[in-house]
């Protein structure tokens, strides 16, 4: 029996939304017949034909800009940025156009657009193909930012993103595509998931670990390790970074009194800063210990596997950091 992967989830979400609405189309580089660098768009070309699949030249600004323009005319484009690093070439169209059009035109039109970006580190692809740039987008009013960690969430959130009236940045972690598995079956039905609702992956009472994308899986494994040592960690996945499930996080912090945030982006300026800052403001009374942020070292991502591993948070480093934290905190 086939396993439903994260890549399958994304492909199915796009395909189902394309079936439901001819205004949905994909646009991006090498997404056509070849099926894309990560195989995400495999079969879509054949199934949805030319008018819903636009395989472009290497022109990131235009890819996003065309998608924005089409969205202004009522389309629901799903633009693909092959590696989120390349979004830096399209920032004007994302930040200055897509994010602001609804507002600066006084609500005359909207930009129902999804920009899918392959994010994260893995496999020694080095500094320009490995970044975790979600923090850049979460600070832009007008954008929504999603970061699914499981196949089910990927499918449900992507369907919701395509149906959403606002521009959505959708991060897909390159190392989650293949292996992680999910429910059995070729096509797994998943309803659209409402934004702003986090998910408790593991209940606990001593410390709340907030994490997402690949790091979430490290955090879950670390939590198992810690459980054997008598530390009960709650692992909580916001799933959508903007909007953010503040109530969900507050409830968890109320229960545990301790907050750890773990993500792949560097600590400085990562989205963890926003979570920590919010908690230091709104959950201050419930916090019994300093907030701990875990993230990549403050460096570009190096090529050498040994250095890549050092830069990134891992199951072991998260377990260690939380262990030390709990020692201090008790």
């Amino acid at each position: 029996m086939t396993t439903f992967t994260y890549a399958d989830a994304i492909r199915q979400a796009i395909s189902e939304e394309m079936d439901a609405n001819s205004d949905v189309f994909m646009i991006g580089e090498d997404i056509g017949e070849s099926g894309g660098v990560f195989g995400v768009s495999k079969t879509l070309w054949e199934k949805h034909g030319h008018h819903q699949m636009w395989d472009t030249p290497i022109s990131e600004t235009a890819v996003v800009g065309l998608a924005v323009g089409a969205a202004m005319m009522g389309a629901r484009p799903v633009a693909e940025i092959m590696f989120s690093d390349f979004s830096m070439l399209a920032m004007d169209q994302i930040v200055n156009q897509a994010a602001k059009l609804h507002y600066m035109t006084g609500g005359q039109l909207s930009v129902p657009l999804v920009i899918r970006m392959v994010t994260g580190t893995g496999g020694s692809t080095a500094a320009q193909h490995s970044q975790s740039l979600e923090g850049m987008f979460t600070g832009v009013p007008g954008l929504k930012v999603l970061a699914p960690s499981t196949p089910e969430d990927a499918k449900g959130l992507l369907r919701a993103a395509i149906q959403d009236p606002d521009p959505v940045i959708f991060f897909e972690h390159k190392l989650l595509y293949g292996g992680r598995g999910g429910p059995a079956g070729d096509v797994v039905p998943v309803d659209p998931i409402r934004f702003g609702v986090g998910r408790i992956h593991r209940e606990g009472t001593d410390v709340t670990i907030v994490s997402y994308l690949r790091t979430l899986h490290h955090a879950l494994a670390a939590a198992e390790e810690l459980a054997e040592e008598g530390i009960s960690a709650e692992v909580w996945d916001p799933r959508t970074l903007v909007p953010f499930d503040r109530a969900g996080l507050a409830a968890s912090i109320k229960k545990t009194g301790r907050l750890v945030i773990a993500h792949e982006a560097p600590v400085r300026g990562g989205f963890g800063a926003e979570i920590a800052a919010w908690a230091a403001s709104e959950c201050f009374g419930d916090l019994t210990a300093p907030v701990l942020r875990i993230g990549a070292q403050n460096a570009p991502i190096p090529y050498a596997p040994i250095l890549e591993n050092t830069v990134l948070p891992t199951q072991a480093s998260i377990a260690n950091d939380v262990r030390a934290f709990m020692k201090r905190a008790r």
Partner: protein, 332 residues
């Protein structure tokens, strides 16, 4: 093949009226700004009226266009209401953008006017995307992207034209070459003389037109829109023109040689057309005067109306950040 567009005298007077409306709209805006009634930037379209009016003459319902920082002319030529434009410049609730956009972002989505744009070259991909959506929907529509000579040095120009040609998108790229990008003369920002030469880089058709001759502009627009609607792809139209004033209100434009200014002032598109109207086309002076009066009246009334409009309520500052803001998303 050149498309022949034959206009009746009434239609010609209407073209004149539109150009005059733009001219006077801008002159009045300039005065209102000098009085402190309009904040922010203002980039007057004065001198280039024949381009906007000539191109938009060939547009239909369902067509779309993007503009630039110098967008009032395109918007008026597309039929927007000067009342609501002044109200927007006055930052009022009933302005096109409810006071949130101002000159740089003015939009009239109902007429397919997809907005002025504060980013040089920023509108080019947007218009190209609009054209893509028309192609996808086989609507028979065309998109127009207006931009300046300076904008043709931005990457967005290049990437967009390449794709439009590749996919034969129904779009007109209209470069208003007014010889300057901000304070920089064309020969200091590109080595080519004719922007139309860039079309060949995309195997696209490129044409040059006298941008101060409204009927000449109409002729190239007619041909280009016909080609676009017939699925024959995009055209790059270079309209040679000149802005009479500084780059923005406040710029004295001292960087321009006097002879150059003199040369172009003699080629004022309104004067040229008025002369043809009263000469070649046999319009009578009264008809012209009636247009002048009507335009004056319309704009006076428009500005007055605008001045009476309510300011937006401060609480609107966080409205329309998202269409669907869910809970908490739009908070501080």
């Amino acid at each position: 093949m050149t498309a022949t567009v034959t206009k009746t005298l009434d239609e010609r007077l209407e073209l004149f009226r539109q150009m005059l409306l733009i001219r006077r709209f801008e002159e009045k805006a300039s005065r209102l700004r000098a009085k402190g009634l309009i904040p922010g930037f203002l980039h007057p379209y004065i001198g280039q009226e024949a381009v906007a009016v000539g191109i938009c003459d060939q547009l239909r319902d369902g067509d779309a266009l993007t503009s630039t920082h110098r967008g009032h002319g395109h918007m008026i030529a597309r039929g927007a209401d000067p009342k609501r434009m002044y109200a927007e410049l006055y930052a009022r609730e009933t302005g096109y953008n409810r006071g949130k956009g101002g000159s740089l972002h003015m939009m009239d989505a109902d007429r397919g006017f997809l907005g002025a744009n504060g980013i040089v070259g920023g509108g080019i991909p947007l218009a190209t995307g609009a054209a893509l959506q028309m192609l996808r929907g086989r609507t028979g529509g065309v998109a127009v992207s207006f931009f300046g000579d300076g904008a043709t040095n931005e990457g967005t120009f290049h990437e967009s034209l390449n794709i439009a040609s590749l996919w034969k998108l129904p779009i007109l790229y209209v470069c208003e070459n007014n010889l300057y990008g901000e304070f920089t003369r064309q020969d200091k920002h590109q080595s080519i003389k004719d922007v139309a030469d860039r079309a060949a880089a995309y195997a696209m058709k490129g044409v040059i037109v006298d941008g101060n001759d409204v009927e000449a502009v109409i002729a190239v627009a007619a041909e280009a829109t016909a080609r676009a609607r017939a699925g024959e792809g995009p055209t790059l139209i270079e309209a040679k023109t000149y802005r009479h004033r500084g780059h923005f209100e406040g710029d004295m434009a001292r960087y321009r040689p006097q002879e150059e200014v003199d040369f172009w002032m003699k080629r004022d598109p309104l004067d040229l057309y008025e002369a043809r109207l009263t000469g070649e086309f046999g319009a009578d002076a009264d008809a012209i005067q009636a247009i002048r009066d009507a335009v004056e009246q319309q704009l006076d009334a428009a500005a007055e109306w605008a001045g009476e409009q309510p300011h937006p309520d401060p609480s609107e500052s966080t409205e329309d950040v998202y269409v669907d803001s869910y809970e908490g998303a739009a908070l501080r």
